[in-house]
Assembly symmetry: none
DNA sequence: TAGCGGCGTTTAGTATATTAAGCAAGCACG
DNA sequence: CGTGCTTGCTTAATATACTAAACGCCGCTA
């Protein structure tokens, strides 16, 4: 696999030029204005935006400093969001049914910002794999028993006194692998249901 | 608009060479092996790792494809690290020391929406009369012992399993009138401190 | 010992990124 | 109309990224 052929202008699944131009115009900057702030020439901006030149990382960084924006941010748009590997769609979560029972603090959560739950997981209880909620944050503290918690790719076993907190957009899963009932107090904002 | 020259504000200098070498060695790849997978020359890898050459974005992307790794991931190191998810009991940050001790889930709550506390009230503990917080909601569940809670004009005595929820703007007061330690798990959104 | 095959590094040449300068078009003002 | 300033674009020259090939080193095995 020797690279012999000249570069075919890079198949950009990520269109640097387009993205750069979009950013620049969104800030209402001219090519020259941005070039001045970044310490490069206006011609360079033009060439990059038209993908007639593939900037070096150093140059791109200088340009982004003019916004300012980090390289990570620049490339993080439309980028592979956390790969949801363990996404079993056939298993629907039924909170409150069977092995997992919860007690919710407050009845009508309309307009409220906070949801507080006291959950009980019977031995062997499993919340199921996918609970892809909208923008929300949740966290909890284990009060009794043992909890196996999977968030994204990470799995941990938590005991009484241990805690967790994460963005609800990440697929997560609760399981009680012990022989004792597991109790946790969890909070979610905004309420998920 | 006349472009005022803002200070480039040199962010944490990102050592591409070091990072690349670290990644490559972590995967146990030789420069040649990586170069072959990436479709560049081994010499290029060497030059980049020693920062003797500043790769173009296109080249860096080809190299990262050999891992594989996205540009976003590559540059996301040293950036604001992904928020902690799991907290063991002894990791919870202690906030108050006296009769009422708060153990907070997570340390830096800037930008977070949720604050989760594990509170311990010694017998006789008293939070004081007025705690007029900003716009926030809070709630909690009593895990152990007894709690006397005053919210506005109402006072109630809560036992293990009982819960509360109210708007933080209302003056409130926590007291432990019993002879046993009282434990509660409380949540607040947005964080109050 | 010689010889092989791996490693990372360096060099010389060439392809390309980048600059500096100039281009035409658009808009405002006299 | 012209003058001046803007915009984005293009070109010639220069700096440098990148390649191909060679170099030196180390650990093998015969």
């Amino acid at each position: 696999m020797k690279p012999r052929k000249p570069r075919p202008a890079a198949p950009p699944r990520f269109d640097i030029g387009e993205r750069l131009r979009d950013l620049r115009e969104r800030l209402g900057l001219s090519q020259r204005a941005l070039a001045t702030r970044a310490g490069v020439t206006n011609g360079m901006i033009s060439l990059i935006e038209k993908n007639r030149s593939s900037p070096s990382v150093a140059t791109l960084k200088k340009i982004l400093d003019g916004f300012p924006m980090s390289l990570a941010e620049f490339f993080s748009v439309g980028q592979p969001e956390p790969p949801r590997i363990f996404f079993s769609a056939d298993e629907l979560v039924e909170i409150g049914g069977g092995a997992i029972s919860y007690r919710q603090v407050g009845a009508n959560l309309q307009g409220k910002a906070l949801q507080l739950l006291h959950e009980r997981l019977q031995p062997g209880a499993d919340s199921g794999a996918a609970m892809l909620r909208h923008d929300a944050e949740e966290g909890g503290i284990v009060v009794r028993g043992e909890l196996e918690l999977t968030v994204g790719l990470e799995t941990r076993r938590l005991r009484a006194g241990d805690a967790y907190a994460f963005s609800s957009r990440i697929p997560h899963r609760f399981r009680n692998l012990g022989r004792e009932v597991c109790e946790i107090v969890s909070a979610c904002t905004p309420p998920s249901f």
